[in-house]
């Protein structure tokens, strides 16, 4: 890992060769550690790979291989490998392994305790091992160093089906490791009836409680959003009332950020006829009530895949648009905890394929992390003026 490669040279460059194999995925997970080192995880040729940068993405270490035995790794926008750093600097990596059966997958986990040089043999975290869907993992580490994984799980739908009963959607499951990733708890169901193929947003409240935000199936097929605090009460709050009733896969999950002020910031997409688009809302009472949703983005330009990030009273929104020629990441900024917002502005554009935009922070610095096919990996600092 000591060797430094020029950015976008080497194994991760999505050149024609990789397009021919199409095993390279733009879907990249990122995190800054406490020393300001940026860690990236992605997949290529049935391997999960990790590299780091000490100069904000200009140069990267050579990639370390997480799984020595190749396996099919799901990485397609809503599904991306996750990376997180433990309180004792252990590096945790998680991903969804794709199985032969349609839609089927397992939630995989590996850790490195030597600064990312070597990784443990991957383990499967879902304790139901049927060849059914366990996918769309999200990972976070709380203040006590517990590693939380949440994902979408088909086991209850599958059981209902075998009893001849209907079961809408999937379920959200949770597992936690209290020993630095050495082992995971028995899986716990958080909610029945999640939407089937939208990423789950996971953030930590100021008291350390993990909070999740996901597209749920209300009633028969209303694909609006729900929020739950993983505090053992199993209470679910309905966040959005767009009433998007549809038997479809939106492939379009929400985003959640909780700042030091404890305000919950939420962003999502709805395709409800007559009022489709992106929306932002905030909660100042830990998810009991929510502000009137604020629409944002140009719905005639495919405004999509919103991200929200709150750092010290400032809040950023970023999302993707397409104008017929270029894809752009556009952003908005709030200096008052999400009450008022700047006008939207373009942060970056590309004339080719690109990943969803991600927002990530290094202390008080906020960055757009964006993997593009043409320009390679881009890390762009956002400040009060941009956007």
């Amino acid at each position: 890992m000591a060797a430094v490669a020029a950015p976008d040279a080497g194994a991760h460059a999505p050149g024609a060769e990789h397009q021919a194999h199409a095993k390279f995925s733009l879907a990249t997970g990122v995190v800054f550690d406490k020393n300001g080192r940026l860690w990236c995880v992605w997949t290529e040729e049935q391997r999960v790979l990790v590299r780091y940068s000490d100069d904000k993405g200009r140069h990267f270490s050579s990639p370390a291989r997480v799984n020595t035995a190749p396996e099919r790794v799901v990485a397609d926008g809503e599904n991306r490998p996750s990376i997180a750093i433990g309180t004792a600097d252990t590096i945790y990596v998680s991903w969804t392994q794709s199985l032969e059966q349609a839609y089927a997958g397992h939630i995989r986990f590996s850790r490195s305790r030597d600064g990312g040089r070597t990784f443990s043999a991957p383990v499967t975290v879902n304790d139901n091992r049927d060849p059914i869907s366990h996918r769309f993992q999200a990972m976070a580490v709380d203040r006590s160093g517990n590693v939380h994984l949440v994902w979408l799980d088909r086991r209850d739908q599958s059981a209902a089906k075998s009893r001849g009963e209907n079961y809408a959607g999937m379920a959200v499951y949770h597992a936690v490791s209290r020993d630095d990733g050495a082992s995971f708890s028995v899986n716990e169901k958080i909610a029945d009836h999640s939407c089937e193929c939208c990423r789950i947003a996971l953030a930590l409240d100021t008291d350390g409680t993990p909070v999740i935000f996901w597209r749920h199936v209300f009633d028969k097929n209303v694909r609006d959003h729900a929020l739950a605090r993983l505090d053992g009460t199993a209470a679910l709050s309905r966040v959005s009332h767009d009433n998007w009733a549809v038997d479809a896969c939106p492939h379009h999950g929400p985003s959640l950020s909780i700042g030091r002020d404890g305000i919950y910031h939420l962003a999502w997409f709805s395709g409800a006829p007559g009022h489709a688009g992106l929306f932002y809302s905030r909660s100042t009472d830990r998810g009991r009530s929510f502000s009137v949703p604020m629409p944002f983005g140009n719905s005639k330009a495919q405004a999509a895949h919103p991200q929200v990030l709150s750092v010290g009273g400032h809040v950023w929104l970023a999302w993707k648009e397409f104008d017929g020629r270029d894809a752009a990441v556009r952003g908005m900024h709030s200096t008052d905890g999400g009450r008022t917002w700047s006008a939207p502005a373009a942060v970056a554009t590309t004339a080719g394929a690109s990943d969803h935009p991600l927002l990530t922070a290094n202390g008080a610095e906020v960055f757009l992390s964006w993997q593009t096919a043409r320009e390679g990996y881009r890390l762009i600092e956002l400040d009060g003026n941009r956007p």
């Binding site: 349609a102 479809a248 379009h252 489709a276 495919q302 397409f322 017929g324």
Partner: protein, 164 residues
């Protein structure tokens, strides 16, 4: 067919577990080609993916519609990639849709292809477009309703019959 030719054909069939279905590359310009190929006739353009749980729920409907209305043209566009053609073909075979006009997104810049089809389509699947003979187009997200599609096509038939 000579015995030798027959042997080769059987050999090919055995060697390849995947049905030999021609899945065409959907690229910028493909939509215009599809529209031109169906000019003056109603057809359904249906977008789907092998990863979409709701998409295959309407394949039985398509198979049934094709049986009942041999003159109803259906064009399938998979938003997967050309390297998933085998999986696409296997899925279609399962629903007896081997002979259906089938395309696959062949451009990583999927936004561009989606924009060409419908600039307000956000990628949710299944997404279908009912193209009337007069080129009135209805875009529908989610699994198609058998009764709605049947009613639409019956009306299209009356319309085109009157036209003739």
């Amino acid at each position: 067919m000579t015995r030798r030719a027959l042997t080769i054909v059987i050999g090919l069939l055995l060697a390849s577990p995947v049905p030999a279905q021609d899945i065409r590359a959907f690229e910028p310009g493909s939509l215009a080609a599809i529209e031109a190929a169906h000019a003056g006739r109603p057809f359904i353009l249906a977008c789907w993916s092998i990863t979409c749980t709701h998409c295959q729920e309407e394949f039985a409907l398509f198979a049934d519609l094709r049986r009942r209305y041999p003159d109803l043209e259906i064009v399938l566009v998979s938003t997967d990639s050309p390297d998933e053609s085998d999986a696409i073909a296997l899925t279609l075979k399962r629903y007896h849709l081997e002979s259906i006009d089938s395309w696959v997104f062949a451009d990583d810049f999927a936004e561009r292809l989606r924009f060409e089809i419908d600039r307000q389509w956000q990628g949710e699947l299944p997404r279908a477009y009912l193209y009337g003979a007069d080129r009135t187009v209805y875009g529908i997200s989610g699994r198609l309703d058998a009764r709605d599609v049947t009613r639409w096509f019956e009306r299209q038939r009356q319309f085109t019959a009157k036209d003739k």
